[in-house]
């Protein structure tokens, strides 16, 4: 068969493609393309009607040009015309063009939908499949609106051809992913689940992807799929390699379907039915056994397919985390792969073992492979594999092997690839802190880290070492000695100078007794680095100097001279100049007592979650967009307190937010104007505050160390970080929150909000004129809310408008008497928040302007993902969250009856999983869930202890984030 003549060759197209390929330069190519475009344009515009073939050929050329990366702004209509051709190839090209170059031109969409509708009802399976493919490829909301009702019917109809069923199943999946609200399975649910029993393997293969996706969203409605999936899997696993004919792939029976079945089962806990569970365990054992059998083929396809199933089975075993025997077998199997000659397998084994390391049943088994993993870190030639090895070392680290692992990671850092250094540094820093038994080891490790990879040591890391040194007086002397030694190196990293300056400024006195590190020697050492450093470091050093004057009066004259020199006191940098002037003045006029008070040793920092851990989580988090990153930065600054950004940053950041040309820029800008966000600048950052309260308050801050404490103690106010945006209208009017005449929130706004904490639908507000209904749904960190504004009167509301303190799409300006208008909000939770967005509604009724402001019932619990766990898991996690600020507790009187069922319904409505048989006291309720925000996930545990006699409750919330615990506790205390 000649290479390029398959099917319906279009000669003109082939010639054109050849021409393009012959072009010697980009310019020549563009010239040729423009010539062709002009030609096609004239053909399409010409008087002569084009025949189907020519139309097809030109449309195909346009498509080719587009795929080369050029813009195409015509030809859509001709493509749409092809859809109604009864020649298959013309129709096919038309559909391909539409699939690749969708255009939201509404007139066109109507025509396309019409053509699709015709093909769907043509009863010609080939045409039906084409139409379904097009819907699946485009997957737009318009298409979902037009076809989401029809496709389930096609999918389950008895007379539908298998191939059409396959397309229908995946088409529906695509629509469900884009518009879950429009795809309602309802009555079809059970018939869709039973597609798992279909005779035709292809139908099962396609349908199971749909079922898996639907199960993730509605596990209860689809839970009958578990036993069907197990029996299907069992039949495949036990079949001989030839049984399944063409569904056997390189001697492996139905590998794709097997993987999908195992994946579906991972949406559910282990089957409760003993027989089903037994059968499943048998399957898993068989799969593990097969891995030990000699291969039936030497082809890599055989081993890949077989191992794909094996890895998916191991994922399921890890997901269940309840079969110690299987877990250990899985671990041993992966251990074999660690030394496999296939790089891919080593990579996957390292990755999979990482999750095994976190299971209590297999943690020890994983640890036995430490030498192999260290070896992988040293010898693997592919950086992605080394990265996996580093991850695994991090995951398997505990007190028993921390020193070894940290040492290996440190030595690896010296040669590590640039791309992974920063993450490695964070990991080393975390492990060193977490498993430090003696803190001198910790200090050594961090200083080594700075020495080896100073450029990659982020602020968080060196802030943290200082926090720890300040909080532990047993290590201060050692730290001072060690930094002093480290600073002796002729070239030392600036981060080392920062740590050195800070520590000597605080604790230099502890080593001053030794003449080799007398005060003046210390000062001269620090000052020898001064001129090589950046402005922030110099500022820090100046602060260290003033601390020296207090610690060592004998250095006063020398230091004053330095401060007085022109290069300081007239420094062109305002910050440096100001410090020099102020410190000089302070040292000359303040009495020793005042000096001692002002420059007193730093008080211990409150214990918080490690700033480094937060940073690592952020790094690992899913694709952070700039907006949320900025946001994080700002919040973290407050949150860790120890480690935040430098003082001036809060203003700088707000400014840069405002100028970010991203669509959400105004949202962020708004936040500072919004009523809820009168947040104090949350960048109360330890290091800077003592030393550098810059800007207006500088002199007083430098003199008044209360200022520092006050900043630390300030609650980290969560500004309203909920991002609400209306669907697709980037060009709508800028949000008008700033507008002057918004009514303050109604007095009952909080009460109304509280009604919606445990439910999603209902009437939010009602008065004589207006009723506002709400329907909402949430999935992970996303939500959609429908607002229904009903006019209860018989008179029209004019100038009807709503404003959110975030952006919305305008609502219909007129509401007829007795009528209702609807507004849709898409909601994304960027990070956790406490204040609900404000919704302002204004309209004219008769002559009078009505103006009311409500709180939109969006609360942090809406983004809960329920988490099932067994009793010991629950209490283990409970204990892990034992720091005082991770817990919020309230004891309060019951406001409603204490009926068990009502309580349960409310707790479920909250969005968490209600865990049975966990609390030793059956009267108590415990729940678990994970709050999904874009920037991070926050695990939360809840315990509610009713006391029927006293009609009281005790409510305890624990989560990894103090603001979340507190907010949930506040919200919930109003519910019972």
């Amino acid at each position: 068969m000649p290479a390029v003549s398959k099917g319906d060759g279009m000669r003109g197209l082939a010639v054109f493609i050849s021409d393009i390929r012959n072009c010697k330069s980009k310019e020549a190519e563009i010239k040729r393309i423009n010539k062709e475009l002009a030609n096609i344009r004239s053909k399409f515009k010409g008087d002569k009607a084009l025949d189907g073939y020519s139309k097809k050929k030109y449309v195909c050329k346009l498509l080719f040009i587009f795929l080369l990366g050029h813009d195409i702004d015509f030809g859509h209509m001709e493509a749409v015309n092809l859809l109604s051709s009864n020649k298959y190839t013309e129709k096919q090209i038309g559909y391909l063009f539409i699939s690749v170059l969708v255009n939201s031109n509404s007139e066109l969409i109507r025509l396309i939908n019409n053509a699709i509708k015709n093909d769907l009802s043509s009863r010609n399976p080939t045409f039906m499949c084409l139409a379904l493919h097009c819907i699946a490829n485009v997957g737009s909301r318009e298409m979902a609106e037009a076809f989401a009702g029809e496709i389930p019917r096609i999918l389950v109809a008895g007379d539908t051809m298998d191939s059409v069923k396959q397309s229908a199943a995946l088409c529906l999946l695509r629509l469900y992913k884009t518009s879950p609200d429009l795809v309602l399975m309802g009555e079809w649910t059970s018939r869709v689940v039973h597609l798992l029993n279909d005779q035709h393997m292809g139908v099962v293969t396609a349908a199971i992807s749909l079922i898996t996706c639907l199960s993730q969203k509605n596990p209860d409605e689809f839970k009958t799929c578990v036993s069907l999936a197990v029996s299907r899997l069992s039949r495949i696993v036990s079949s001989a390699s030839t049984d399944l004919q063409d569904y056997t792939y390189y001697f492996v029976p139905a590998p794709w379907l097997s993987c999908k079945l195992l994946r579906l089962l991972q949406c559910y806990p282990p089957p409760e039915d003993g027989a089903v569970k037994g059968r499943l365990v048998e399957c898993l054992e068989t799969i593990l056994n097969k891995a030990q059998e000699p291969p039936k083929s030497k082809k890599v396809q055989h081993s890949n397919a077989k191992n794909a199933i094996l890895f998916e089975a191991i994922s399921l075993i890890i997901h269940y985390d309840s079969e110690p025997n299987l877990l250990v077998r899985a671990c041993n199997q992966l251990g074999q792969f660690l030394q496999h000659r296939e790089t891919n397998l080593r990579y996957l084994a390292l990755e999979s073992m990482c999750t095994l390391a976190s299971s209590e049943f297999s943690h020890e088994a994983v640890k036995t492979h430490i030498e192999t993993v260290i070896n992988a870190l040293k010898t693997e030639r592919d950086v992605s594999v080394r990265q996996r090895a580093a991850d695994l070392l991090y995951a398997m680290c505990d007190r028993s092997n921390a020193k070894q692992i940290v040492a290996e990671m440190l030595s690896y850092l010296e040669t590590a690839d640039y791309s992974i250094r920063e993450e490695m540094v964070l990991k080393v820093a975390i492990l060193a802190e977490k498993y430090a038994v003696d803190y001198s080891w910790y200090v050594d490790t961090i200083l080594n880290l700075i020495r080896i990879a100073g450029d990659y040591v982020s602020e968080e890391v060196w802030y943290r070492v200082i926090q720890i040194v300040i909080n532990r007086d047993d290590v201060q002397g050692y730290a001072a000695k060690t930094v002093f030694e480290a600073l002796q190196a002729p070239a030392c990293h600036e981060n080392m100078v920062k740590v050195g300056g800070y520590i000597l400024g605080e604790f230099g006195n502890l080593i001053a007794g030794d003449p080799r590190s007398s005060p003046l020697v210390q000062f001269n050492l620090l000052h020898s680095k001064f001129h090589l450093c950046s402005v922030p470091t110099r500022a820090l050093l100046l602060s260290a100097y003033i601390k020296f004057i207090n610690l060592f009066p004998e250095t006063k004259a020398t230091i004053q001279e330095v401060l007085r020199s022109d290069s300081q006191i007239r420094n062109s940098d305002v910050e440096l100049q100001q410090r020099a002037v102020e410190y000089l003045k302070l040292s000359s006029i303040a009495s020793t007592d005042v000096l001692a008070t002002v420059l007193e040793e730093m008080p211990p920092f409150p214990e918080r979650e490690s700033s480094i851990l937060a940073k690592l989580k952020k790094k690992k988090g899913p694709g952070a967009v700039p907006v949320s990153e900025l946001d994080d930065g700002k919040r973290e600054g407050g949150e860790l307190n120890g480690g935040g950004d430098r003082g001036p940053d809060s203003s700088a950041m707000a400014a840069s937010n405002a100028s970010t040309p991203s669509p959400s820029a105004d949202l962020l800008g708004l936040r500072s104007a919004a009523p809820v966000s009168a947040a104090p600048p949350s960048a109360g950052s330890l290091l800077v505050d003592v030393f550098s309260e810059s800007g207006s308050g500088a002199p007083s801050a430098a003199v008044n160390d209360d200022g520092f404490l006050r900043d630390l103690e300030q609650p980290t106010e969560t500004s309203d970080t909920l991002l609400v945006e209306a669907p697709g209208d980037s060009d709508s009017a800028p949000p008008s929150v700033a507008s002057e005449d918004l009514a303050p929130p109604l007095p009952e706004a909080d009460e109304l909000l509280n009604k919606f904490v445990c439910k999603n639908n209902g009437v939010l507000y009602e008065n004589q004129l207006l009723q506002i209904g709400i329907k909402s749904e949430y999935r992970q960190n996303l939500g959609r809310m429908y607002l229904f504004y009903g006019n209860k009167t018989s008179v029209q509301f004019a100038s009807f408008s709503t404003t959110l303190n975030v952006q919305t799409k305008p609502v219909e300006p007129l509401v007829e008497g007795g009528a209702q208008v609807q507004q849709v909000l898409n909601i994304e939770c960027i990070t956790d928040f406490s204040e609900a967005p404000l919704l302002n509604i204004k309209f004219r009724y008769g002559g009078a302007l009505q103006n009311l402001t409500l709180k939109l019932p969006v609360t942090i619990n809406k983004f809960f993902q329920p988490t099932e766990m067994a009793s010991h898991d629950f209490f283990q996690r409970w204990k892990q969250l034992s720091q005082p600020q991770q817990e919020a507790q309230k004891i309060f009187k019951a406001n409603h009856g204490m009926d068990t069922e009502v309580l349960k319904a409310k707790l479920l409505g909250l969005g968490t999983a209600l865990l049975e048989n966990v609390d030793p006291n059956p009267e108590n309720y415990v729940c678990a869930g994970v709050i999904q925000t874009k920037s991070q996930q926050v695990g939360c545990l809840l315990r509610l202890e009713p006391n029927a006699q006293a009609q009281m409750y005790r409510l305890t919330l624990r989560s990894s984030k103090d603001t979340v615990s507190k907010r949930l506790c506040d919200l919930l205390a109003e519910q019972f």
């Binding site: 396609a206 063409d246 994946r263 890949n304 992605s384 594999v385």
Partner: protein, 169 residues
């Protein structure tokens, strides 16, 4: 699966299939970024990459790279075999497929892909069934004038790598 890209050793995109809605600009950016990243990797390196919050699975067949981006919970090895099955389908359909087939018959490559994968999920994994669907479609078409077939003369002669069969290595 979120998308599949086929590109040549010279970095030219030969086929792109997107299963998630993205704007054209973003698609181009992703294309450029991944092509660069993958071409920079050495032959014996592993076929999987972490990229943004996705996993990238790729494999080279002769002059063409096949690259898929899958989600966190998806299976890398089975994705490698998705790629292989697709190459087998192309090979069977074109008869010892080479890059030129895909350049000159790009529309066919898309049609075959649609029969095999839909919405980013395997629709039909049986080679026979997929090919049957395509062949049926081919038979439906009107009788093509022999003249319209491409003459070998239109081919550019010095593109040896593009005309080497994908299964040769």
């Amino acid at each position: 699966m979120q998308f599949m890209l086929l590109f040549s050793r010279q970095g030219k995109l030969r086929l792109q299939k997107w299963y998630v809605p993205l704007c054209d600009k973003e698609k181009r950016r992703i294309g450029r970024e991944l092509v660069q990243t993958i071409l920079a990797r050495k032959a014996k390196m592993c076929s999987f990459l972490e990229w943004r919050d996705l996993k990238v699975v790729y494999k080279r067949y002769a002059s063409l790279y096949f690259c898929c981006a899958i989600e966190e919970q998806d299976n890398e090895l089975i994705t490698l075999e998705i790629i292989h099955r697709y190459v087998e389908l192309l090979d069977k359909y074109f008869g010892s497929v080479c890059e030129l087939d895909i350049i000159f018959n790009f529309e066919k490559a898309y049609f075959i892909l649609d029969e095999f994968l839909l919405g980013g999920e395997a629709q039909e994994t049986s080679k026979k069934s997929v090919l049957k669907a395509i062949e049926q479609a081919d038979q439906l078409q009107e009788n093509i004038d022999f003249q319209m077939r491409l003459f070998p003369g239109v081919l550019v002669p010095n593109m040896a790598s593009e005309s080497s069969g994908l299964f040769q290595n």
